[in-house]
Amino acid sequence: MNNDLLFDFTVDKAAQTVFITREFAADIALVWDAYTKQEILDQWWAPKPFASKTKVMNFEVGGRRFYAMVSPDGQERWAVQRYTSITPKTNFTLLNAFADKDENPELPGSEWDLRFSEQNGTTTVNISIYNESLERMEKMIEMGFKEGFSMTMKNLEELLARLSQEQEKKLATT
């Protein structure tokens, strides 16, 4: 139903940032609500079969969303998102950190920036996630993507690129 809606997912290793762009077939007010209202967020935030359970949410600068991803067997993975800036229907930023059930964060977290824009009834959301705290993600992003290593990495990339078309597409964007 949404094949014509843009979805772009890029890992910019040098900038240690994941960029995600997605279009939605709805006006900006509705999309904004979907990202900023607890009752709507919980309907889509957790990829099925997981469920999103928001315990606390006050969408204001300095406020937070404390929520869990609940697995089908009832295991809860908690996270805190603290809102650092809000420009209504345009942009908001937050600090994301995994936490325990008592809301003690596991630092360092990651910095998220979400931008909203609308054209002809289609709303585009640009999300950037800097320095994702998830251990593996950090290592992923760290992995040499620093300057100076690019040559060796390029050889490796070329090799891997031959292995599958899909890989080629992804590596070319980095």
């Binding site: 139903m1 949404n2 809606l5 979805f7 997912f9 890992v11 994941v18 995600i20 997605r22 939605f24 077939a25 709805a26 509705l30 999309v31 609500d33 979907a34 709507i40 309907q43 889509w44 935030w45 957790a46 990829p47 099925k48 251990e135 593996r136 993600m137 290592k139 992923m140 760290e142 992995m143 040499g144 620093k146 290593f149 040559m151 060796t152 990495m153 050889n155 490796l156 090799l159 891997l160 292995l163 599958s164 899909e166 890989q167 992804k170």
Partner: protein, 106 residues
């Protein structure tokens, strides 16, 4: 000690070793020539890479050759792919939510 591929690639020398043996199987001596560090340091990295099952060794005559476990390298990509898939699923769910909300408004 438990090791995984993400540990293997967290170090620049190890990434360089991976890059070299990705092109062709190499002996420990040939590998060491590419680095300013001591042979010992290089062997240590090779040991970690072996423990991560990222490289395998083969005896050819009197020489040992190291080569890359390509399947293992693909794990990195698969992991990223999972992250991407999570967002994709999430957004598809949002499409449905938005569609429902729009209909309610009408």
């Amino acid at each position: 000690m438990r090791r995984d591929i993400f540990q293997a690639i967290a170090d620049p020398t190890r990434r360089a070793i991976i890059g070299l043996i990705a092109l062709q199987a190499m002996t420990p001596n040939a590998l060491a020539e590419h680095f300013d560090t001591s042979r010992q340091a290089v062997s240590k990295h090779i040991k970690i890479l072996t423990e991560c099952e990222l490289i395998k060794q083969e005896q050819q005559g009197r020489e040992i050759y190291y080569s890359l476990e390509l399947e293992k390298m693909k794990e990195i990509d698969r992991w990223l792919e999972q992250f991407r898939t999570m967002w994709e699923t999430r957004f598809n769910q949002l499409d449905e939510v938005l569609s429902t909300l729009k209909n309610q408004k009408k």
